[in-house]
């Protein structure tokens, strides 16, 4: 039987490698020419489902893994062909540390970044949504802003509350530093009662999120790409017309 050789391709000489790549594509895809993807100057990150961090979630959950996203963002910063990063969000939240790490990575990129919230950007999706230079939300997209819950074994001592409060504070600080919303407004959204059936908090939809200063604009993919391309042009001009 044939074995697919690509796992050992690194050890072969250059032309041998090329030939085996052709054989490989016949074996895998039944054709000699595989449509190789064109390079895009825009890096598109999709953050969907749960943001997965230290704990591997059971396979019935759709997740975006921390270990996929972080190296991709490093590559986006380093690769000179990449001129801008578009982050598309449709997330229900997830790991606090992983979410904040992704948000910090996006915020600290030197290249232009735009986030687009489609469907939902809930819980830890909120700091990720506000982390870019410019944020856009679809008209029907929602963001749920609610307190962090304690899960697992809870010790009923004041220190437990302090720990939770610190976790909460990290998320709140990040959102405040990267959006136009005021602390009072954000906290009132977060601790509002009577709006969510199983939780404390608020759901803000599309234009509402813009009005509260959380997100910069209501729009879709056209607005997101227009804004990103505009920022890329601006950056090129600032660099004296030289592509950096």
């Amino acid at each position: 039987m044939h074995r697919i050789p690509y796992l050992s391709a690194e050890t072969q000489p250059e032309d041998e490698k090329k030939r085996s790549a052709a054989v490989e594509s016949i074996q895998q895809l039944g054709q000699t020419t595989v449509a190789t993807s064109a390079d895009s100057n825009i890096y598109c990150l999709t953050i969907i489902g749960q943001v997965e961090g230290h704990v591997v979630l059971p396979p019935q959950n759709k997740t975006t893994k921390y270990e996929h996203i972080i190296p991709q963002l490093v590559a986006a910063e380093q690769n000179p062909k990449i001129e801008g990063v578009l982050v598309i969000l449709n997330t229900v939240g997830g790991d606090v540390e992983a979410g904040l790490a992704i948000a910090e990575m996006i915020a600290s990129l030197s290249k232009p970044t735009v986030t687009l919230v489609l469907g939902g950007g809930h819980s830890i999706g909120v700091p990720i949504a506000v982390s870019a230079d410019w944020s856009i939300i679809a008209e029907t997209a929602t963001m749920t802003i609610h307190p962090i819950r304690l899960n697992g074994l809870v010790i009923g001592v004041p220190q437990t509350f302090e720990y939770l409060d610190k976790m909460q504070e990290r998320v709140i600080r990040f959102i405040l530093n990267h959006s136009r919303i005021s602390e009072e407004e954000l906290k009132s959204l977060m601790f509002k009662t009577g709006e969510l059936t199983r939780d404390i908090g608020t759901t803000v939809i599309g234009a509402d999120a813009v009005k509260k200063g959380l997100i910069d604009q209501v729009g879709g993919v056209a607005e997101a790409l227009r804004e990103l391309n505009r920022r890329i042009e601006e950056r090129k001009q600032a660099a004296g017309g030289v592509v950096s």
């Binding site: 064109a38 390079d39 749920t144």
Partner: protein, 74 residues
């Protein structure tokens, strides 16, 4: 610590008894994808994990298509 609108009990226990065919993250020609191992030297693409939007327009990598994939042991 999980900060999500999905209740934790749902995250970990809902649907756990439904067995799902083993999935694996593999990289072919620089594109990372999640595949479902079909056990006969082929695999079905579940989803692509790529930041290059053009990868998604490549018909060879449409989710659901079957690729030959057998890990080599040597």
């Amino acid at each position: 610590m999980i900060y999500s609108i999905v209740p934790v009990e749902e995250l970990f226990f809902e649907g756990w008894e439904n067995t799902i065919a083993p999935r694996r993250d593999i990289t072919i020609e620089g594109v990372t994808m999640q595949v479902e191992m079909l056990g006969d030297g082929t695999a079905r693409i579940i989803r692509l994990i790529s930041p290059n939007p053009y990868d998604y327009t490549n018909p060879a990598w449409m989710p659901g298509s079957i690729i030959r994939y057998a890990p080599k042991f040597d």
